[in-house]
């Protein structure tokens, strides 16, 4: 059985979409995925030992939310640390896969972030298989089927690819849940207003504290 390690790039401590995606993939593959949170790992004193162990895995999954068109900073920092360790690593490196989800509707927003992880794999001399970009990340926590069936189908495909022996690099895959964009946009905007209202901040939502 292949050894699979996931790096969860979400800085959220609980209930991150990235964490849920790793769990789903684990079910589909039917084997345990050891998962590390980037934000915790970069702070650990024994990080180099864990990183050395990560590099011994067969598969490395990098799963993260899109932050400013690319990777959240702690994950990026971790990748630079992995690169340092990989340079001194004599053994063969894991095959890399990545999954990026964004709060925007269109999955294509994740394109550059996935390319950045592909470049990371090239820098360390590892095989890169492909990346999966997911749109409407905000809807995944609330829906498990229906409009998001295509997201789970794409995850199942990734699971099957991981199980298979094929390590040929291929194009990234983008999947946007099947729901009208205007509904997602309106739903999102109402959601923000509701949370702000709960906090008594609705009227201040458009504050400009740095205005001249």
């Amino acid at each position: 059985m292949k050894r699979i390690i996931a790096v969860n790039g979400s800085p959220k401590s609980a209930e991150s979409t990235s964490g849920a995606l790793i769990k789903t993939l684990e079910e589909y593959i039917g084997t345990t995925i050891d998962s590390f949170r980037a934000v915790e790992l970069v702070r650990r004193e024994d990080a180099h030992k864990i990183i050395a162990d990560i590099l011994k895995a067969d598969i490395l999954l990098i799963v993260f939310p899109l932050y400013i068109d690319s990777l959240p900073a702690p994950l990026l920092k971790l990748l630079t640390q992995i690169e340092q360790t990989a340079k001194a690593c004599g053994s063969s490196l894991p095959t890399v896969y990545s999954i990026c989800n964004c709060g925007f509707y269109e999955a294509e927003h994740n394109s550059l972030a996935l390319k950045i992880t592909r470049n990371f794999a090239k820098r360390i001399g590892a095989n890169y298989r492909y990346g999966l970009g997911i749109g409407c990340g905000g809807a995944l926590a609330q829906m498990k089927k229906g409009p998001v069936d295509n997201v789970y189908a794409a995850l199942r495909d990734m699971g099957n690819t991981i199980k298979a022996e094929n390590s040929k690099e291929s194009e990234d895959v983008f999947v946007t849940p099947k729901m009208p964009r205007f509904l997602y946009r309106i739903g999102g905007n109402i959601g923000w207003r509701q949370i702000a209202k709960k906090n008594g901040m609705l009227k201040q939502m458009k504050a400009t504290p740095h205005s001249l």
Binding site: S10, P11, K12, S13, S16, V39, P65, Y67, I68, D69, S70, L71, P72, A73, P74, L76, K77, L79, T80, F104, Y105, E106, E108, H109, L112, K115, I116, T117, N119, F120, K122, R123, R181, Y184, R185, G188, N189, W192, I195, A196, N199, M201, Q204, M205, K206, A207, T208, P209, H210, S211, L212
Partner: protein, 190 residues
């Protein structure tokens, strides 16, 4: 013109071609008011994805025990921001990225369609010019992604003008500095 230079630690050293100091000097020569802030990802706390800056303290990050809100204040009151970074897999270096992740209070949570795709609405009427300067030995793919990233960043922050300059070597850094000079000479004399 008021310019803020945000740079990674390496750009203050030889391996970073001393770019920050050189950029500051050249921009002062053309009559700009320049402030340089060296970003350190060990000192800036990472964004925790709580969205408090949108729904609890709108426009300000809820993490207040570092200087990020102060940097945002200087950022938003500048006419142009020059971001000096080692190109890291095609993106910004961690020093820059840690701050950029914490700069989302400067836009609104609300969605809108802009140039055919979903983006956030702007919080401020004006966003400073965005000049991304990437340095370091990079592959063609990394350079291409860095340029594309600058275009995407501009769609999300919508500065009036944006530029992306890259330099693989000390020689190319001189070209970049001349280009910065040209950009701002034209603006100051306009």
């Amino acid at each position: 013109m008021k310019i803020l230079i945000l740079c990674d630690r390496e750009s203050t050293t030889e391996s970073g071609f001393n770019l920050s100091l050189q950029a500051e000097e050249i921009l002062k020569q053309v009559g700009c008011e320049v402030q340089t802030i060296v970003l350190n990802s060990d000192k800036i706390k990472p964004c925790i994805g709580c969205f408090g800056c949108w729904v609890k303290t709108p426009g300000l990050c809820v993490i207040t025990n570092d200087c990020t809100n102060d940097i945002s204040h200087i950022f938003m009151r500048s006419d142009a921001v020059v971001l000096l970074t080692r190109i890291t897999y095609g993106g910004f270096a961690p020093d820059l990225k840690t701050f950029l992740d914490r700069s989302i209070p400067n836009i609104l949570p609300y969605f809108e369609i802009y140039r055919g795709k979903m983006h956030h609405q702007m919080r401020y009427d004006k966003f400073p010019w965005w000049i991304a300067v990437g340095y370091g030995e990079s592959s063609e793919s990394e350079l291409e992604i860095f340029r594309e990233l600058s275009e995407h960043n501009a769609l999300n922050f919508r500065p009036q003008k944006h530029f992306c300059l890259t330099a693989k070597s000390a020689g190319e850094c001189q070209d970049v500095l001349q280009e910065l000079k040209r950009i701002f000479t034209e603006e100051v004399s306009a």
